[in-house]
Symmetry: C2
Subunit: 381 residues, 2 copies
């Protein structure tokens, strides 16, 4: 257990699966007769059941937020720097739950599941799901875990949108919402980037209208392109300049289309790695869920009215160089929360690392999270 023996790791974790047999009516109108969620937990639920924290993942995330899956696992979960004994989300105090979202490709019901109506993989037939659908499915998971009220619901980017939606849809089932590097709705530029990514996947000759599994192929070029494009928007121009500048891989120009600049090499590597771990149909529907997110729309376009019923307290965090969801977008959320007379803390972290900052161990950011979580009361484990 060398890898997991470090005192601030949650160690080896085993994903669990919860089946839900009550029908779930999705926003799009489709009824899922049953579904399952894969999730991980870290720490222990206390007797008062008041120390549970829900972690919501972003576009390309999954349920594996912390710890290792085996003793020779080369990499821990995606938010391992933040979740563990003594870490900002301290598993000595909190019971952390992280599910894979419905429609994802980490094991929860989604395009890679069998469609009971056809006996085949859902593939492109899996219905489009929304942030509201995710919150509803997560509420059912809370029910099965007998968690009436979350101590906190937290996420970054699309995960932060779920935390915000929780406060709207279940205003009394969470005591704190932590919304990091998010926005209350996508701008047309955000949607435009998503549309280019979708077009890349759907126009790949191997896409086969989303039934690529049946042809033994994957739309790898399209998915790779989508991820390359995503990566540009996750990082700031400044950090790319600091990391790669105009450095040439071979030290000279080759006047051809192979990799010349190091930034090209980085992007292709990111794209190629992603294709091995993510499903194109899931990527498509995750981008749609982002596009659709606009919780104020049901409240006469007033985000203030949307959040008015909750008694949750909020921490909103943004990063100075994030141009995907800039600090200005977080401030829109903060303004609405203040207008609704809610208890809100806001921290704008100075970081050159762009949108990706929310995943990184930036000292001031983690200090802010740590301080905030220390202020969340709960009984001892």
């Amino acid at each position: 257990m060398t890898l997991t023996a470090s005192s601030d790791s949650v160690g080896i974790v085993i994903p669990q699966t919860q089946e839900f047999t009550a029908p779930l009516t999705l926003d799009c109108g489709v009824v899922l007769k049953s579904f399952s969620l894969v999730y991980e937990t870290y720490g222990r639920l206390n007797a008062a059941r008041d120390n549970a924290v829900l972690i919501c993942h972003a576009l390309s995330g999954d349920h594996h937020a912390a710890g290792f899956h085996s003793i020779d696992d080369p990499k821990p979960g995606w938010w391992d720097n933040c979740i563990g004994p003594g870490k900002p989300i301290d598993t000595n105090r909190f019971f952390v739950v992280c599910p894979n979202n419905l429609g994802g490709c980490g094991g929860s019901t989604g395009p890679l599941s069998i469609n009971p109506a056809s006996g085949k993989l859902y593939g492109a037939d899996f219905p489009l799901v929304t942030v509201r659908d995710w919150v509803e499915s997560q509420a059912r998971l809370a029910d099965t875990l007998s968690i009436d009220t979350w101590a906190a619901v937290m996420g970054g980017s699309l995960g932060g949108m779920q935390a915000l939606q929780w406060a709207i849809d279940y205003p009394h089932r969470l005591r704190h919402a932590i919304v990091v590097a998010a926005a209350s709705k996508l701008s047309p530029q955000n949607i435009a980037f998503n549309e280019v990514a979708r077009h890349a996947i759907r126009s790949d000759a191997n896409f086969h209208a989303g039934r690529y599994y049946e042809h033994g192929v994957v739309p790898e070029h399209g998915l790779m392109l989508a991820r390359m494009l995503g990566h540009i928007t996750y990082l700031s121009d400044d950090v790319l300049m600091a990391r790669f500048g105009r450095e040439l891989r071979d030290g000279k120009l080759n006047y051809g289309y192979d990799i010349e600049f190091q930034i090209e090499s980085y992007l292709r590597y990111q794209g190629e790695s992603f294709v091995k771990r993510f499903d194109a149909n899931s990527y498509l529907l995750m981008t749609k869920s982002l596009d659709y997110f606009d919780p104020a729309a049901r409240f006469g376009d007033s985000l203030k009215d949307a959040v008015a019923r909750t008694d949750a307290k909020f921490l909103v965090a943004s990063f100075s160089s994030d141009w995907r969801f800039s600090p200005a977008r977080s401030r829109e959320i903060v303004r609405a929360l203040l207008d609704a007379d809610l208890d809100v803390s806001y921290v704008e972290i100075d970081s050159e690392l762009g949108h990706d900052s929310f995943l990184l161990n930036i000292p001031l950011y983690h200090a802010a999270l740590r301080t905030y979580f220390q202020g969340i009361t709960c009984h001892v484990v």
Copy 2:
């Protein structure tokens, strides 16, 4: 002649072709034994031959900058709002020359030309050309037109880079350089966007290693994607918000992958239109030329040293919401010119319209151009 009768139009123009039979050694080492440039001219060269203005086009431009090609031509040239009798570049005073760049697809030698070595289209075998190569070919065009010194060399974006390169490579053959919405080199983010565009084209199943002509197809999805992505970077988030917001085409969500938001419709239209008018191999090499542009590199990374020999005067212009080549990038150029003790005017135009601003009739921008050109002395026509 209804369309062209307006008093500020250059009217009907006929492209001309100039053959060059002296070999041209390109930066990449390839020697073009001969080549031709298609170009248009507006206004008349005066007897002193001191009123000639060279217009350099950008990534997707061509030689058709002003006027109409026929009486039923629905659209004038791409910079018609700027070039004509009484317009900022006043053809009553100036003789304007606009060539299609080598490697382009407007008629100059490029991928769509016959390769004399094979008797077939060059296609992907056309060598990669640089901004320096373009300047050299334009200098030869000046020679054939007996233009010893340009009154001005002007361009926006990649066109502005050519104007800057002119001052470096032919420091005494231009009296003014007008560099609009450009940069002295691409940032890694700029290169990254280009790389994604290239990857989209080159991974299209119809690309056939650039020999798509022989298969009777074009890599339309890839080229469309490249253009869609380009368009996002040409426009600011603010102008997209003002024009499209989150407006839905059908007034409601359809929970599918057809167009839902108006911004998606706009992007697809832009992509589809582009495929009909532009060649994918030309697009690929134009993006490479952008990536390679770094005139300071041959001068110990000192742009000041690169421009030190010229006696040209400069106008540099940028636009506040341009995030492709932001005002900060123009200021880098201005600083180098000032450090070299050159005569430079700089104007930063307040505009919400992003990089595309350089093509638009923005009153303060056109007023600045008009004033600057009025100050360029030349004999009467």
